[in-house]
Amino acid sequence: MTTQQTSTPATAQGPFEPEVTGAFATWMADGWTVTWRNLNKVKRSPDMLIFAVLQPIMFVLLFSQVFGGAIGGDNPNFDYTDFLMAGIFAQTVVFGSTFSGAAMAQDLKEGIIDRFRTLPMSPSAVLVGRTNADLALNTISMVIMILTGLAIGWRFENGVLSFLGGVALLMLFSYSFSWVMALLGMMVKTPETINNASFMILFPLTFISNAFVPAESLPKVFGIIANWNPVSALVQGARELFGNTGGTVAADTWPMQNPVITAIIGSVLMLLIFVPLCVKKFGNVSSR
């Protein structure tokens, strides 16, 4: 093909012989192509990258320095910076996942989805590429937060493997949550809607949890909600894996007693439910 050098975009020869064939290989290739496309966007809009880098730094510093003295009271084992890290990490990556929704809505608005949907690409590739790219962005935020945390004195106490397990748990949860947001992104009318809606959902979800203060220090009703909140399980799971509970005792609810399992089950459930829903929805959306 490369030998053909006429200036007319001749089509007489008919479609090219595809180089990539087979369902799995095309799925992988398409997923990667869309990921590449989405990461290119990050490269070209430095504001997004700056946001992904600066916001986590700001959160880590603000929370640890502003609330640090006020929380923990007279428990000598309690170090708020240690306690806080898992919470901040969880909050940041969960918020980061909402980007999948906003970006899907934006793609629909810009019409590029119509191009994708007339191509013989794997039906889930656009979504895979979307959530992959956001996982990559979230990973950057995560690394930044870890470094910032370490710089201000945070230490994980259970060894490197356990620490990596905690990080993996956070990434798994946020990846699964991206699919939830991607579905919402395809359902709303404008990208702005998804931003507003997700703040309405995510602020309560992350604040009525054990992310920033121990659940028992919350007003009673909120404490009860917090102990059943999946975000609490995620935070508790990561906190235990980091060895950062600082002597706080997990509440006597099943999710709090088995936080790692709960967070894993929750993530897998989100994937099992929302991946098929997303793919189905994608088959019917069209640009607006």
Partner: protein, 326 residues
């Protein structure tokens, strides 16, 4: 069997303000290697038709095949053989022109190397070489459009769907695109295009379907449609506006339809039954009335006339020509 076939397509949208029958039993057939033009007023259902055929939406009922592949049952099969460019450019703002086309090639599974080569080739063919390495964000509307059209050609499709392909292009680009399309058709490509420009349909399309309210109201070659609209028009331009009223009376007397008056009353035209004879009669009457003419002559109907007659004053008034046409 034609390479594009649609039978009894319907599509209904329910909106807050009521239900819209975007397609109401639309039939279409495009023989291989020909260009079909879809004409119709805004909201007629042109885009909806194209979107059903290029697998973007599913019809509520009816069937359609492209290259004998059913668009509802095997959309992936259809996507492999078609190229499509929508009414609004579907391009990635953050990618460069080249990257956009490379991405499309990769999603056709051409592999990275071949996708790049094809992207380069198309960027050159569409006169975008200078802009190929800039993000589309900074492109003008026409450049965006051309990237989108190039995207439709990446896989050398034998069947091409173009929804208003030249809207927003400058005259030179429009002519360039017409040539490109003609080249493709000479190479055997089948094209279904919609357009708001009647001269475009006249120039490009072998067959035209006029659509209104979701179904085809007239079909044929451009000449056949013009013949359907009926006779010639007599057009006169009076030198002096003051004579307009009198001249209109004369034309109305000889004409076989409604007058159309433009240019501040100076240009008057009317459909007539017998071309030359009527022109002579009109001229002699105008001469007797001592009306000075700037210009006078006979016109064959244009596609504009076809369009207006077929869709223009529907239901508004009982027009003879419309009765014949439908």
């Amino acid at each position: 069997m034609s390479i594009i076939e649609a039978k009894g397509l319907t599509k209904t949208y329910s909106t807050r303000s009521g239900t819209v029958h975007a397609l109401a039993g639309l039939d279409l057939s495009v023989p291989e290697g020909t260009v079909k033009g879809l004409l119709g007023p805004n909201g007629a259902g042109k885009t909806t038709t194209v979107k059903v055929l290029n697998t973007l939406i599913k019809p509520d009922s009816g069937t359609a095949t492209v290259d004998s592949i059913d668009v509802v049952n095997d959309p992936q099969g259809v996507r492999r053989v078609i190229g499509a460019s929508g009414q609004y450019a579907a391009v990635d703002e953050n990618l460069t022109g080249l990257e956009n086309l490379e991405m499309v090639g990769r999603l056709y599974h051409l592999g990275i190397k071949r996708s790049r080569a094809r992207a380069k080739e198309l960027i050159e063919a569409f006169d975008l070489t200078a802009a190929g390495n800039r993000p589309v964000k900074g492109f003008s509307g026409g450049m965006r459009r051309r990237i989108d059209l190039a995207g439709a050609l990446v896989n050398r499709p034998r069947i091409l769907f173009l929804d208003e392909p030249t809207t927003g292009l400058d005259p030179a680009s429009r002519l360039g695109l017409w040539e490109t399309i003609s080249d493709l058709v000479r190479g055997g490509t089948t094209v279904l295009l919609t357009t708001q420009y009647l001269e475009e349909a006249d120039y490009l399309a072998d067959h035209i379907s006029v659509i209104d309210s979701g179904h085809v109201i007239a079909e044929g070659t451009s000449d056949e449609l013009k013949a359907q609209v009926g006779g010639h028009r007599v057009v006169v331009t009076v030198a002096d506006e003051g004579d307009s009223q009198q001249a209109q009376d004369i034309l109305r007397h000889h004409g076989a339809g409604k007058l159309s008056v433009s240019d501040g009353g100076r240009e008057i035209s009317v459909v007539v039954d017998q071309g030359p004879t009527t022109l002579q009669a009109v001229l002699s009457d105008l001469g007797n009335a001592q009306i000075r003419l700037h210009d006078a002559g006979m016109q064959r109907p244009t596609l504009d006339d076809v369009f207006l007659t077929l869709t223009g004053h529907k239901a508004a008034q009982d027009d003879d020509t419309e009765q014949e046409a439908s």
